[in-house]
Symmetry: C2
DNA sequence: GAGATTTAATATCGATCGTTATGAAAAAGA
DNA sequence: TCTTTTTCATAACGATCGATATTAAATCTC
């Protein structure tokens, strides 16, 4: 019983996600969030808890709705296709929306005030989790003969992730999709696998 | 005439630089800055102007004292050595100080509140300037026959910068120097030039 | 319809942000 | 020594931060 909620929680979450995407965790104020969501402050607290909890929800949604290509990439048949899938989809995501370029996750991994440290750790952990799964995928590729026996799979996964992060930074700096695609091309140009495709 | 300044301006600037390096522009408060420099707030304002001016001074000093390897790298004889110089020195710098990992510049390139936008633009511009000089260096290499005629020098420069940024992000996430060196190895493994050295 | 319960909106909380008056302390010139 | 000038340190400025107390409005059960 009681009064009904007048706003859609998922819509509000999507709007909040975009604010965090543009400004990062600390750069996004509740003034920004209420403006973007159209929901007053106390209602956001009532629906999501505090700012950190709201960010975590936004982060989950980001992984589900925007980074879904990452787990999908791992299912590609060859390690090279896995890497290509990740890189080109990252470029596309990072340049898709003119108002929110770059990657939500990349903001928080970097520094901030001491108060934001828990959020930073959460993003660092999420990043590490993704890299670990990529590493394991490359190990599988090695077992399957898709990657040479002497391949350093951990380093290869770290390399792909590094290029992805670099692409996010450059997207934030205003690079075109074409240029970032060329960066991805270069990253893939010397893949250690025996290439099925050029 | 008048009272003498009781602190060393350059020492204070170095201390402030370290704070910005660790926390970024917005993450660093004057409380942090006074604690690190040992200089009271009004004295910092008197010596440097406001926070943005102080950050610009710190940024200049960062480029002079810590990124000096970048212009030096451009003078290497081959494009591959230029790239290697940049990457390995970036790894070293990003992992040299346990308390301030990553790159000062990379923080501000990414998002923040609207108030920090001028600082972000300054860092974006500085980044672009460095990439432009690298691009020009590769064009020279092409003319000299060090790089193949069909090389996309802009993309190659963007690639090296992207890997450098990615390394900075991963350093902030806690990667070891050894792992990041391996990332640099991978980035160099497919260099388009005719290698003089392996 | 009456009472209970939940949400909405306004207004405000204490804390901290960057910034700056203010007056004492120190060093120069007279 | 006295005045002038500059720096230092305390304290406080208005603005904004994340987070709420409070009250009115809306919807349920009975």
């Amino acid at each position: 019983m009681g009064r009904h909620r007048e706003f859609d929680v998922d819509e509000a979450l999507d709007a909040a996600l975009c604010v965090f995407w543009r400004k990062g965790y600390e750069g996004a104020s509740y003034t920004d969030l209420t403006k973007a969501t159209g929901v007053e402050r106390p209602a956001l607290y009532s629906a999501f808890g505090n700012k950190e909890a709201l960010f975590h929800r936004a982060m989950e949604r980001y992984y589900e709705h925007y980074l879904h290509f990452f787990p999908a990439a791992l299912e590609q048949p060859t390690s090279r296709e896995v890497a290509a899938h990740i890189l080109y989809n990252a470029v596309e995501l990072n340049t898709r929306y003119p108002d929110q370029r770059g990657c939500l996750g990349i903001h928080g991994v970097l520094a901030g005030s001491d108060a934001a440290e828990p959020v930073r750790r959460a993003l660092v952990d999420a990043r590490a989790k993704g890299e670990k799964s990529l590493h394991e995928r490359f190990e599988r590729a090695k077992k399957e003969g898709d990657l040479p026996e002497e391949t350093n799979c951990a380093a290869l996964a770290a390399f792909i992730m590094a290029v992805t992060h670099g692409i996010a930074v450059q997207a934030k700096a205003g690079f075109s999709r074409e240029m970032l695609d060329a960066v991805a091309d270069q990253a893939l140009s010397t893949w250690p696998s025996s290439p099925r495709r050029p």
